[in-house]
Amino acid sequence: MTDETADFPNPYHPIKAVVLEVVQETPNIKTFLLRPRLRFPFQTGQFIELTVPGVGEAPFTPSSSPEIDEKMEVTVMKVGTMTSALHEMQPGQWVGLRGPFGQGYPLRDFVAKEILIVGGGVGLAPLRSLFLALVHRLDAYKRIVFCYGARSPSDIVYRDAVLNQWPKLDPRISFRITVDRGDNSWKGNVGLVTTTLDNLDIRIPNSVAVVCGPPIMMKFSTLKLIGLGYEPEQIYLSMEKNMSCGIGKCGHCQLGKFYVCKDGPVFTYDLIKDAREIWD
């Protein structure tokens, strides 16, 4: 029955995407450039479910610009079964894609604001997409202050962009990079990412802060921002929970009354600050 096909959109069905390139970012992080079989528009901050055929799925936020919908980049840290299998993949092989899912960054609310971005570790992936989206319409925003912390110099993701290219893009863009532990060649800041939030020359009432990284980093960055005078509704958090179905049904990503997959992954802090398990 042809009309049944039309009536039967299947949100569990992945579409095919070919791996075009694989970039080794750090010893355990790779970026995969994918070409989906169909155009795959998304809003920056939304996430996708990526399938390694026969192995399974995991949620990732694209790290590429939302202005490009025929290709997509996804940056993945090797931590478990699915990501290990993904890290084995070579150009020419295919993966599955579902999505995009959830609520991304509401860029309209960022217009004419001073945007503070605070990232930690592989949390830089969604922030890269956000940064590229902001740069695409840089005139719409007042300025961007980008703070990023990695464990060590060799753990810095998008190393060349972060250290060399992005800071030189425009006078309205400034970067503060730090590592937890330096090495012989490292000449920059050493310390947790929260130390880069000292002495910010931002007019906070006209600012928004975006935070993404490991839970502990998000917790202390958020608390520090509150201490600096940010209101909870000015702080945008990209929450990591165990999103599985992506469509608000399977229950794995419950955060209080919210499902992170449909109500998030981007939340303003005021919505979830009282949720149990927020930083766990």
Partner: protein
């Protein structure tokens, strides 16, 4: 407001043909009529129709032939088939040929116009305003019917009829109709199986990939979903309401749930024989249904009171050609009295656990209560409570190579029940896990059911069916835990 549409009515019975034409014209459609298949086909050759209302049994060129021809010539037309009462089986056949709905004779003007609106909505994808459900229900249709006749009537309403039946494993939903002496609505209490098993299978294949077309449900599978589920009790109907909100609302509906749900006829029945774990009254529910069903059955002296609660239920009553009588006022009174009695006996079983505060309030205050640790000690983490729960709907997805694959290199995705009581349920790949301890998982089940679901959907995630109490190996009684949390010590 109805959509503009060209409609063709083909029926050899002139009275039926005329009245269909009149009803549909009054609904605002442009209607043409044909008194046999041949004339109908001539119209179809000449102009396109958005909707064809087609009688199945006609002399000469019959409905099936017209339908086949129509599929070739005008694949965009949607078709509603009209059948006699006895030919439901052939109705299923024509559904396979692409008809979107069927009406059994006799049908009411309302039924025809609603079916037409629905069919056209399906075709255009536009929202067509149909009569609001309330208005259709109007004054409730209720009749008195005999058990044997009810069985026959329900059999006509679906391919399969399920009823609760006593077995060695307790009261279970089973296929009805094998033995004539079988009680249709036996038990008087909810079966062991939660109703969700009909709509949300414990394990189901939800995708096959890679494929450029999403998996669709085969017409055969779709026809198999025309099920009548009878003897449903209030606790399970309430659970179904919650599952509807979860699986059907929002940006993405679950297509498998949707298909099963839309094809099912839900026949509820008053509870008459509650078990000791029954606690619907604690959840603000009664042990009988007043709305949300297609049909409801209540026992009364002299027969069964059969009440319609939806257009489909009303259609079923009106279409049935079995002996039926008006319900007498005394019988309605008797129903009220029986309902009150059952309610009283549930209160007897559960009333002692009644807390002063609503559960959501007392749980907010009891977050750090020592009761959690003490109660969780008896929990073995088996997750039986969530598996048997009529509202628990968490699942996980896993992928595998298709076994004995016909086509090489295909994979399949399986959706299987999961449980928040399993340690890794909320764990993320990086290792973070908000509920590492059994106590945290134990508490989560309560907090989620009584606070989170209430905030998100307006109703509790517990309907008081008591199944979790019956199956718990640690003999944990949810009512008791809540009561202890309230601090009200005997």
């Amino acid at each position: 407001m109805v959509a503009e549409a060209n409609v063709l009515v083909i029926d050899d019975e002139k009275t039926v043909c005329d009245s269909c034409t009149r009803i549909l014209s009054e609904s605002g459609y442009t209607v043409r009529a044909a008194l046999d298949g041949e004339e109908g086909l001539r119209h179809i050759e000449q102009e396109p129709f958005d909707l064809v209302v087609l009688d199945l049994r006609m002399p000469g060129v019959d409905g099936i032939s017209v339908l086949k021809k129509l599929r070739e010539r005008r694949p965009d037309s949607v078709v509603i088939v009209i059948t006699g009462y006895s030919s439901v089986a052939s109705a299923v056949e024509v559904m396979k040929l692409g008809a979107v709905d069927y009406l059994s004779k006799p049908f009411t003007p309302d039924e025809l116009s609603v079916a037409a609106a629905r069919a056209l909505e399906r075709r255009t994808g536009r929202a067509v305003e149909v009569l609001p459900e309330r208005e259709l229900i109007g004054e409730r249709v209720a009749v008195l019917i005999q058990p044997d006749d009810l069985r026959e009537m329900l059999k006509a309403q679906g391919r399969y009829v399920f009823v609760p039946r006593r077995s060695a494993k307790g009261l279970r939903y089973s296929l009805a109709g094998l033995r004539p002496d079988q009680e249709l609505l036996s038990g008087g209490v909810r079966p062991v199986d939660p109703l969700k098993t009909f709509f949300f299978e414990a394990r189901a294949r939800v995708a096959v990939y890679p494929s450029s077309r999403p998996q669709v449900m085969s017409p055969a599978k779709m026809a198999d979903l025309r099920r009548v589920i009878a003897g449903v009790k209030r606790c399970d109907l309430q659970a179904l309401d919650l599952l509807d909100k979860i699986f059907l609302e929002g940006d993405f509906a679950d297509p498998f749930y949707k298909a099963a749900r839309e094809n099912a006829l839900i026949v509820t029945a008053d509870c008459t024989n509650p078990t000791p774990s029954c606690s619907c009254v604690l959840m603000g529910l009664n042990p009988f249904c007043e709305e949300g069903f297609d049909l409801n059955v209540s026992e009364a002296t002299g027969g069964l009171i059969l009440e319609a609660g939806s257009p489909r239920g009303k259609r079923a009553i009106e279409a049935c050609r079995v002996r039926r009588k008006e319900v007498a006022a005394t019988q309605l009174e008797e129903r009220e009295q029986r309902r009150r009695q059952t309610r009283e006996s549930v209160i007897q079983m559960s009333g002692d656990f009644l807390t002063e505060e609503p559960y959501e309030d007392l749980l907010k205050e009891a977050e750090d209560s020592p009761v959690w640790e003490k109660s969780a000690e008896a929990c073995v983490g088996c997750a039986a409570c969530t598996q048997i729960c009529p509202t628990c709907h968490c699942f996980f997805l896993y992928d595998r190579r298709q076994p004995a694959s016909r086509v090489k290199g295909k994979y399949e995705r399986i959706r299987a029940w999961d449980s928040c009581q399993y340690p890794a349920f909320a764990r993320v790949a990086g290792g973070a896990n908000p509920r590492k301890s059994r106590e945290a998982r134990f508490r989560h089940r309560y907090v989620h059911k009584f606070i989170d679901i209430k905030e998100a959907h307006g109703i509790y995630g517990c309907t008081g069916c008591g199944r979790c109490i019956d199956v718990c190996m640690g003999k944990i009684d949810m009512r008791e835990v809540l009561w202890q949390l309230s601090g009200v010590k005997a």
